[in-house]
């Protein structure tokens, strides 16, 4: 497993790198956004860890967006600056799968890295499930999602979210269950994760994201996938 760490603070990226190496990861270290993006293309890592505030004209959010344009590689944001929920949501909206706030303990950091990689891998091992109603076509095994016949890129987290909802189609999935199944047990309190991802997912698969027909919100409980095919 290869992890790309982009952080302008040398002390931090060295420490994180040393820890990950000890845990058996391959590590690539970069000091600014542009360098990081080049390394991403050259090294093809399994996971990217991005600091947000970086010098050199390209911050973490931009790097994340550029990565998302070409790949579904899981991205973890690591920021010292997060003050409000809006900052977190902004990061997630940029396509990150995880948003961590400095300072974080190394053990927790490693646990989160592992959980994120697990999530990305787990998707492909799901049992076969195909949904097709003409507008939306999902093949879980082949990780293929088509909307109106056109292939749609989903990030690993988005895909995992859709998979969980589809498996429970017709039933309400409580928020905490969703958090636990998609992100992991440690995440059950990060209630804004589903909110952000659901809205991104809607933008990608719903005919009209403002009036969703597939992913419905059960107020104060959770979300429900509504089938429109005839099984």
């Amino acid at each position: 497993m290869k992890v790309l760490i982009v952080d302008d603070e040398q002390a931090i990226r060295d420490a994180l790198g040393r820890k990950l190496r000890r845990e058996g990861f391959g590590v690539v270290l970069c000091g600014d956004g542009l360098e990081g993006l080049r390394a991403f293309h050259a090294e093809r890592p399994d996971l990217v860890i991005l600091d947000i505030v970086m010098p050199g004209g390209m911050d973490g959010l931009t790097v994340c967006q550029r990565i998302r344009e070409v790949a579904d590689t899981p991205v973890m944001m690591l920021s010292a600056q997060a003050v409000t929920e809006d900052d977190v949501i902004q990061g997630l909206n940029a396509g990150a799968d995880e948003y961590l706030i400095k300072p974080i303990r190394l053990n927790e950091f490693v646990a989160r890295v592992q959980a994120l990689l697990r999530r990305a891998q787990m998707v492909s091992s799901e049992d076969a499930q195909v949904y097709n109603d003409g507008h939306l076509n999902v093949d879980l095994q082949r990780r293929n999602v088509q909307v109106n016949g056109r292939k749609m890129h989903l990030t690993p987290t988005e895909f995992k979210l859709l998979a969980v909802l589809l498996e429970n189609a017709g039933r309400v999935v409580p928020q905490r269950d969703l958090l636990e199944q998609v992100w992991g047990r440690e995440y059950v309190d990060d209630v804004y994760y589903p909110r952000v991802y659901i809205s991104q997912l809607r933008r990608k698969i719903e005919p009209d994201a403002a009036n969703p027909i597939y992913i419905l919100t059960e107020h104060r409980v959770g979300y429900r996938f509504e089938r429109h095919d005839t099984p």
């Binding site: 002390a11 420490a15 300072p103 303990r105 053990n107």
Partner: protein
């Protein structure tokens, strides 16, 4: 000659009787009229007697008839002399009390006595050459002399009081006429006497008619006119002193007095406010209530008339040398709204006229008018003073508002603009002519409160509502408050806070940057510390281990301080994400987060949520943070083995959270500063507790953001309870 005399006599008496009838018809109860009637009746009796005698003699009738006629004549004669006396003394006002009864009784007595004498010894008369000779007996002369002399004296002495020269003359003529009867019987002066008396009676009667009916009628008309004039002249004055002067002038003119003054009540005294035709040095003479004529009048609310001041008044004199200088006096209370406000005093000099009851009556009428005029003038004066004060205050306030740079706009209950200062016009780019008086239409939406219901509720509860306006790229803070307590409307004061806002933004930015810059080294230090621990895991050196633990603890503490600053900043500047908050859920989350901390410190953490605890509206995350801070505090300040209870319940329309501990308590002197930023109470037993001093400041900010209240009760040594009260979600909204 005799026939003519008879005719004149008869006509005179008939006329006199006619006048009498008119007078009695007009007022038969009046003492003067009654005595006049008696006098006239007796004069008629005398005349009838004279007539009968003359006729009897002329016709040459029997002697006893002549004797009877002479008897009637004599009774009438004596009666008339008594009658004229009683009439004159009533006229002059010298009669005593019960005079009527006394006079009538003595009249009856005298007449009865004379009648008996006449009956027993018939009058002796002679007729020589057809001339009737009669000599009055001595008792008649004595009676006559007694009464007629007294009458003449009285009339002359009190001629000013009687007031009519003709009347005085006529009475004197009558007396003189009676006197003629004694002159010379041979000259038949008795007939002349009768004629003179008849004429005098006629004059008296016509004067009485004049006096009792015609004059009063005329004077009533002139009184009405005068009253009208007085009202006009008094009420046309506005200033109190001119009103008072006018009243005194009118009073003196009305009753033909020599001077007048007005006392006004001031506290427990009467103060001579105005004098007219009286010495100036009398001004502001003070008389206590109840003393002097003036004081008595003010106390009893009854007017007093003193015909002779020196004689009739035994009390304290209100003016210097009063007994020596004042002749007659009338004091009339000035009553307004059933309260005496002063006394009108009218006087004559020692040799001036004496006041009649009529004068008092007139002055009472004047007094009533005067009181109203004085009261109104005072009210007007007070009102003018008040108006001036209000006007002064208003202009002061207005110039203040005009010159201030803050925009000020006031509206009434109908949302119509009632005031707008130049700053407000400039800010809103409005000229003098408003597009509409209604504030909702006249002003752009951007400057109006975003939520009317909330604004009204805030003003009802806190008397102020504050909201932000962005206009022309500047930021303003608008304070909205009700005008006074009278629900007159609302006033908005707009402050330019652009600079403050910018400063605040810079401060926030700096806090963010600083925190960020601190967090990176902190992260690096903490990460390397962990790596070091991993590296040293194999070795067991307690010294090194202790040092590492200490370094870690300090780093964690530093982190907590930074987090505290950032949390507070976030709460202060961040927008609230309002949602429905379940107290039970919040409590559960808060306790879960702190469970291990409590366990570590061997503290029992218990929660209790009453079943009827209502939901409330708020930012779940922020509120959880606040509650966590409170519970964390409680745990930190409670010694091992202690207890912390966290509960939620309904309290009227609020949700009441309480966090109670068995901790060390907070001294009363530290309590007021407790919620201030960076406040750390140096307290015995709490030296080991670490903290940023930001926790409670955050709690306060969050609670206030939720329109709630936070307070505490603490007993040193036995524990502290923090309370947080938040308005509950009303049922209508929840459903």
């Amino acid at each position: 000659m005799t026939g003519l005399t008879l005719l004149i006599n008869a006509v005179s008496l008939a006329l006199a009787l006619g006048f009498l009838l008119i007078i009695l018809w007009q007022d038969s109860r009046k003492e003067l009229n009654q005595f006049f009637a008696i006098f006239l009746f007796l004069t008629v009796l005398w005349n009838v007697g004279a007539l009968l005698t003359q006729m009897a003699v002329m016709v040459g009738l029997e002697t006893f008839i002549v004797r009877f006629a002479v008897g009637v004549l004599e009774l009438g004669f004596i009666g008339a002399s008594i009658g004229v006396y009683t009439f004159a003394s009533v006229l002059a006002g010298t009669h005593l009390q019960r005079f009527r009864t006394l006079a009538l009784a003595s009249l009856v007595l005298v007449l009865a006595y004379r009648g008996l004498i006449i009956a027993s010894t018939p009058p002796a008369f002679t007729v020589i050459n057809e001339t009737f000779n009669y000599r009055f007996p001595l008792p008649s002369i004595v009676f006559y002399l007694f009464f007629d002399v007294v009458t003449a004296f009285t009339v002359w002495r009190y001629r000013r009081t009687i007031g009519s020269r003709l009347l005085v003359g006529a009475i004197l003529l009558f007396v003189g006429g009676q006197f003629m009867a004694f002159l010379n019987p041979e000259l038949s002066t008795i007939w002349l006497s009768t004629s003179i008396s008849s004429v005098a009676t006629l004059v008296i009667s016509s004067e009485m008619l004049q006096r009792e009916i015609l004059k009063p009628l005329a004077s009533r008309i002139s009184q009405v006119e005068a009253m009208n004039r007085v009202s006009l002249s008094i009420t046309s004055q506005i200033a109190l002193d001119t009103v008072l002067e006018e009243i005194t002038r009118q009073a003196v003119g009305w009753v033909d007095a020599d001077g007048a003054g007005i006392f006004l009540i001031q506290g427990r005294e009467l103060d001579l406010e105005t004098v007219y035709e009286l010495p100036e040095e009398f001004l502001h003479v003070r008389v206590p209530l109840g003393e002097g004529v003036v004081g008595s009048v003010a106390r009893t609310q009854q007017s007093i008339r003193l015909v002779n001041y020196a004689r009739d008044w035994q009390g304290v004199a209100e003016l210097p040398d009063a007994k020596e200088t004042i002749g007659s006096m009338i004091c009339v209370p000035l009553i307004y709204a059933a309260k005496v406000i002063g006394v009108l005093m009218v006087v004559t000099g020692k040799h001036g006229r004496r006041f009649a009851p009529e004068d008092a009556r007139l002055l009472e009428m004047l007094g009533a008018q005067a009181a109203v005029a004085i009261a109104h003038s005072r009210l007007f004066g007070e009102q003018r003073k008040l108006t001036e004060q209000v006007e002064a205050g208003r202009s002061q306030l207005e110039s203040l508002l005009e010159s201030t740079e803050n925009a000020v706009i006031a509206v009434n209950r109908r949302f119509e603009i009632i005031f707008m200062n130049p700053a407000a016009r400039e800010l809103l780019a409005l000229d003098e002519t408003l597009p509409s008086k209604n504030v909702l239409r006249a002003l752009p939406r951007a400057v109006l409160p975003p939520d009317y219901r909330r604004a009204l509720r805030d003003m009802r509860q806190n008397r102020v509502h504050i909201y932000e306006i962005t206009l022309h790229g500047k930021v303003f803070l608008c304070h909205l408050a009700p005008i006074g307590r009278s629900k007159a409307g609302w006033v908005a004061v707009v402050n330019d806070v652009t600079q403050l806002k910018e400063l605040d933004r810079l401060k926030s930015e700096m806090v963010r940057m600083t925190s960020h810059d601190l967090k990176n080294p902190l992260q690096a230090a903490m990460a390397n510390l962990e790596l070091l621990r991993d590296d040293l895991a194999a070795e067991t050196n307690p010294e090194i281990d202790l040092s590492l633990t200490m370094v870690e603890k300090q780093l964690v503490r530093m982190n907590r301080i930074i987090r505290g600053i950032l949390d507070l900043e976030r709460v202060k500047t961040g927008t609230l994400t309002f949602g429905v908050c379940r107290p039970a859920r919040i409590l559960k989350n808060a306790v879960e987060e702190l469970k291990h901390l409590a366990d570590d410190q061997h503290i029992v953490l218990e929660t209790q949520v009453a079943e009827d605890t209502p939901d409330f509206q708020g930012d779940v995350e922020q509120f959880e943070r606040a509650l966590i801070n409170l519970v964390e505090n409680a745990i930190k300040f409670t010694p091992a083995g202690g207890h912390v209870w966290v509960s939620a319940e309904r309290s009227e329309d609020n949700v009441l959270f309480s966090v109670r501990d068995t901790g060390i308590g907070i001294p009363a002197e530290l309590q007021p500063q407790l919620f201030e930023r960076f406040f750390r109470g140096r307290q015995k037993g709490a030296e080991h507790v670490s903290g940023s001093g930001l926790g409670l400041s955050l709690v306060k900010t969050v609670v206030e953001n939720h329109n709630g209240k936070v307070w505490l009760e603490s007993t040193e040594g036995s524990g502290t309870t923090f309370y947080v009260s938040i308005p509950a979600l009303s049922l209508q909204v929840a459903e």
